[in-house]
Symmetry: C2
Subunit: 428 residues, 2 copies
């Protein structure tokens, strides 16, 4: 009989409570599958006296997560507190120093300190795993690290922030603007305490940086993720993109190019009939592309008690089964710093502008595009009551530099009302 | 420096050639990720003198796969010959007896002999893995066995035969009947030597039985898969299902019910706007549902050199990394025989019939349905030039027994022309 695997769980919010429930409810199943009992020795949270709808009486309580992480009766420290620094990092370091394995859902901590923590863990012979940090219940870290281990990864894409996708798809469904849907998401409790983590793309950027490290064998480099949130997306863009056969998603894209590692988290147009284009509400989707596998698409709940706890338990069960992988799929000490690409791979762009309704207006704008080397694939002018006409362009593939020059040129035309909007169209 | 992992590959068709190419092309990547070199020692195939577009000169050649499987310089026997018995099984058994690990893409062999082979492997301390046997490049065995290891699995569904999905979606796109598209698929080389493996649902049934074993901790039981192929699907069904908001898929469903394990591989209607309903052509999709994760959907190429070789390499890389799992996720010796459910979970059904155009015809048919306890959710009668009118019903949830009784009753009505068609509607 193998010894039980003993967990110490720090953080009893939604995810922590979910993990406790699985360990209690599925004890027999976990033992049958791993060959050993999975037990909880001790827990820790900010507030002790709170009804979490789950029995905690049988577990030791620690006020201090560092004390929890270093207990003799803990084999695996399960870090579910969150925050890139502070107690989460201190307790993770203490756990590794004390010879514990660590399972965490903390994308912020790993995006900033993942390289150092992974090196520490691997030097000590411990594992540090983070399935729950990316795309909730979708086992994407495992799919990428292990399932596609024979592939040279060519591109990783994903819609990995359910709140942003909820806001964007609700904007389309209701015809309401960004601010109204932001408030709706806030009321539903979908936003982080700092909403910019969601709508500014930071949370999704953390996840992208973690996947990029695994995919391309480079050190996590969140600082080099080009970040753009969804705040500037107007209902007109959503409706007119739809009219052209696209939908707007906050899309993360990581790919290794001849010019270095490109990591972008930004609103993009994707074809409405693609799997990414069909994604509704808070669901997450990750697209993995490799030289042999071509493309696989993984879809599932990106948050929530059960799904995120399921991902935590995937890591716990790996450890119970003796599966001991390097944090980023290969020894952290050998990971190279990524050279960030200094420009994005060329792509078509969607451009929306308002033109004053006078002779030669369209010619002037088209000239501005042409002079910057941007050629037009499709153009559409809509009927209008106002003195300006909405005009849309879909360009052929162009560099971001040429596009920026064209946008500057357009803005200087005396026929353009306001600032034109450009959104990248990602081939998916 | 860890010793290299040495492969012996039996079978140099599409998949075998693909594996050789990955090992050659990605040698550095495989070594970086697993910490050891992955090499090929020897290969075997039916024909030696054949240009496979790949260098084989550095490898020993064996005419006999059993000899290959037992070579001293082979650590992992990679079985890519196919066939449930014969050389594949003999060589797999010989490899396990000689202390080799085995990686196979052979769904037929495992669906029939998986339990015995897994017991043999585990008793000998060897691993027997089969990621490539199910859904091509999609790492679904890993997702289910490891990624969802903390879940009580509630249902597994999948479109796992690309040829059938190709035929069905081409029928819809072209308006041509089954026979014409069967011939088209044959010309394109999409059909197995015995086409009934594809269109009869056998190949997909093998895959479903393997997933069910992992999902529910039961012995593989292919004999208990209720099998129905796509041969009886008419273009009228595809068009009229579409008109009602559905598409027809050859869908595998496995779920554990109070009455036992239900395993069905049969044409089903699924909502046209669901991920399964949106699946086109030869792509595969597997839907996994668990008590915690809710639902995840995996989509990818179900066949082909690169994708299937990618799946083989996933197992090879697991072994190279020291990941040693039981074939079906828990010790085979402890798996219980599945009690097959004696009836399917109730569901709504689509019924298509032709009624003679005379007074009271619809009433008679509706009475036949009602007398069997089948109630009608939606009904649609189409305009017609012939003496009979096409009439469609969508029923409320009903048992298969009540449905069969209703179909008998309808067939006996003197107002029905020909035999009515019933197809299950699966809630996805």
């Amino acid at each position: 009989m193998t010894d039980p695997l003993r967990l110490g769980i720090a953080g009893l919010g939604t995810v922590g409570t979910g993990v406790v429930k699985i360990v209690q409810r599925q004890a027999a199943l976990l033992q049958a599958r791993s060959g050993r009992a999975v037990q909880i020795s001790a827990v820790s949270a900010r507030t002790r006296d709170k009804d979490r709808g789950v029995r905690l009486g049988g577990y030791a309580w620690e006020d201090d997560p560092v004390a929890l992480a270093t207990r003799d009766d803990v084999d695996v420290f399960v870090e579910l507190m969150g925050g890139s620094d502070g107690p989460a990092k201190a307790a993770t370091e203490a756990a590794l120093a004390a010879g514990k394995d660590v399972v965490t859902a903390n994308k912020a901590m790993l995006a900033v300190h993942g390289q150092a923590l992974a090196e520490t863990a691997e030097a000590a012979g411990q594992v540090l795993r983070f399935e729950a940090a990316v795309a909730g219940g979708i086992p994407v870290v495992k799919a990428l690290t292990e399932g596609l281990a024979g592939n040279e990864i060519t591109r990783v894409m994903g819609v990995m922030n359910g709140t942003c996708n909820y806001i964007l798809t609700r904007m389309e469904a209701t015809g309401q603007g960004y601010n109204a849907l932001f408030e709706e998401a806030d009321k539903l409790g979908y936003l982080e305490a700092d909403p910019n983590l969601d709508v500014g793309g930071i949370d999704a950027g953390h996840k992208l940086a973690l996947l990029a490290s695994i995919a391309f064998g480079t050190q996590v480099s969140f600082d080099n993720v080009q970040l753009e949130g969804i705040q500037r997306i107007e209902i007109a863009d959503i409706e007119q993109a739809r009219d052209m056969g696209y939908r707007i998603k906050l899309l993360g894209v990581a790919q290794m190019t001849g010019r270095g590692l490109e990591q972008r988290m930004q609103p993009c147009l994707v074809p409405a009939d693609s799997p990414l284009g069909q994604l509704e509400g808070g669901t997450n989707m990750v697209v993995l592309e490799g030289d042999s596998v071509e493309q696989i698409v993984l879809r599932g709940p990106g948050a929530g008690e059960g799904p995120t706890a399921s991902a935590v338990m995937s890591d716990v069960m790996d450890i119970a089964r003796g599966i001991r992988l390097a944090t980023f799929g290969q020894p952290a000490a050998g990971l190279q710093p990524a050279t960030p690409a200094n420009s994005a791979v060329p792509a078509p762009y969607y451009i929306r502008t308002q033109l004053f309704d006078k002779p030669g207006a369209l010619a002037k704008v088209a000239t501005a595009l042409g002079e910057s080397g941007v050629s037009i694939d499709r153009m559409r002018q809509y009927g209008h009551d106002e003195p300006t006409a909405p005009v849309l362009f879909v360009t052929h593939k162009t560099t971001k530099e040429a596009l920026d020059a064209a946008m500057d040129g357009m803005a200087q035309c005396d026929v353009v009302d306001g600032t034109p909007v450009a959104i990248r169209i990602e081939a998916v």
